[in-house]
Amino acid sequence: MSENLHTRALQLVAKGRVEGLAQSESDWLSAHLQDCEFCNEHARQTDSALRALRTAAIPVPADLASRTQFRVRLRAMELREREPKRRMLWLACAASWIFGIASAPYVWRIFQWMGSVTHAPKLVWEIGFGLWWTIPALFAVIVLLLESAGRSEEPEWMKPGR
């Protein structure tokens, strides 16, 4: 029997277990395995290895599920407690931005007036006006940084939300 036939048979043995075979391939392989003891033994060994893998049991520690359920419930409570605070923060920022947009023309005039009274350069009071707009965003960033700093004591791979 040619070497190529054995090579094809061994490839089909593996393919049958990994992807499945077409009917024609399956028929050809069955016929070959009946005639070839070497390939038949190879197929048996493959099946035996897979059977051993499928039936290998790893016992789960008895209380692992309940410990995990407890930790998950605790974390869920933590997240629920944090949600209203986070919502309030965004609401405050949104309200602040809306107020900022609505009052922008008046605030601009106030800064302009203060600039003329104090003889401050135009650039200075324009920067002041810019800061007025960025304060809510800066505040939100500071709060988020403080929150993440609070979590930094956990090991890196355990940090939630990564």
């Binding site: 493959t46 035996s48 290998a56 049991a57 520690p61 692992l64 359920q69 930790r71 791979w157 939300g161």
Partner: protein, 187 residues
Amino acid sequence: MRDEAKTVARGLQKRDPDLLDRLIEQYQYRLFRYLTYITGDKARAEDFFQETWIRVLERGHQYDGKSKFEAWLFAIARHLVIDWQRTKKAQSLDALTDPEQERPLQVANESEPSPLHQVLAQESEMNVQASLGRIPAIYREVLVLRFQEELQIEEMAGVLSIPVSTVKSRLYRGLDALRGALQEGVA
């Protein structure tokens, strides 16, 4: 199956604690086995098991119910292990089988009392675990996902974030390696 996945997705969106309890019970064996095989360490697998479910709680809104829940679950677990590996200055799961760093699978050496079925199956189980411990982690992982967890090749590609063709080639090599390792164990 699709309806079940959608139900799970809706429950995870709402962080339904009863659903999470049920999922933890339901998938405890499969997830723990997967983690034990890819980390090669039972104590570490316990840590990752808990962290995986915490992550499921936090990231539950990202699961859309279009794929199998277990595929998504295994992907989360795998990413946690990879993150942990990275903190150890390793690049991937391959480092788990670096001969210099190799820690053999330790599940068979546990000191805690075992259930009766474990005692009965211990001999062949130890042989399989020792054999799996001898093959590279990237092959061990695909073998476990395909032949123990019975994921489809496309689902495995999603879990492992690699092309389908790579999954197949790893499976073929892994199968060959497993057969060889088991033969060595028997000999």
